[in-house]
Symmetry: C2
Subunit: 151 residues, 2 copies
């Protein structure tokens, strides 16, 4: 069944690919009308690009596919709670709902340190649910940073 766990597993697999390349392991999938519109993983170091987070790359690919900056009705599945840049992009792209895995206490901009999706003033409100496959998403990040310290 293609439920939120199915798509979060897909985001997790993408996150693992990022990790194998030495990038912080974060993956994102955008789904619309039951179809995967785009998917991406963090490529900040490889691209040497401050904006190359998984969410931004997935949004840009989805916009290209639809030829529209509006991703109305689309949902995003991402393995880590988005940072302010990505949460802002999610709202700007008018994404309907974001499902994320692990919570990010410091830079998390959905529920944790900033609450960008719900505060009034922006032209769109994106719904959100956190903690989907939380342990798997969180463990993947912990192991990555543990391995980094060992090197």
């Amino acid at each position: 069944m293609k439920d939120k766990f199915y798509y979060m597993k897909m985001a997790l697999d993408l996150a693992r690919k990022a990790g194998e390349l030495g990038e912080v392991p974060i993956g994102a999938v955008i789904v619309k009308d039951g179809e995967v519109l785009s998917s991406a993983f963090n490529m900040r170091n490889q691209k040497g690009m401050a904006t190359a987070h998984a969410e931004i790359l997935a949004i840009e690919d989805a916009c290209k596919k639809l030829g529209d900056w509006r991703l109305d009705g689309a949902e995003m599945y991402v393995s880590l709670e988005p940072c302010p840049m990505c949460a802002g992009a999610i709202v700007n792209a008018r994404i309907k709902k974001v499902y994320f895995g692990a919570f990010e206490k410091k830079s998390g901009a959905v529920f944790s340190n900033f609450r960008l999706l719900f505060k009034g003033g922006l032209n769109h409100v994106t719904d959100a649910e956190g903690g989907i496959l939380e342990k798997e998403c969180s463990d993947l990040l912990k192991e990555f940073f543990l391995d980094k310290r060992k090197v």
Copy 2:
């Protein structure tokens, strides 16, 4: 003299170009060590891209030029107070200081509705100054939306 007004005038000229193309007139310039590293204007509609704000395009171009996601020591001049997405990108790119023109009460994420540059938790703090050539920057936007309503 190449002071903050000089670079803000450059951002304003870019904003005007965006307006001529039917885009919300916003322009941005990134300066490092007294050299213009990149400049861009809002191209959201033309690119059909939710992330194609002036600030993001300028950051991406600057990263490409330096081959690095870190824009340490760089300053940004932008005609309107950045939205949450752009303010988040400015912090992620480790920009030193952002100078903006007009304040944006609703979506402004430096001083107005959100204060993303100063709140603890992120890996960098970007300094900011608003209100540079404020009237010119604000009038350009007002005229644009007034013309839109007449059509």
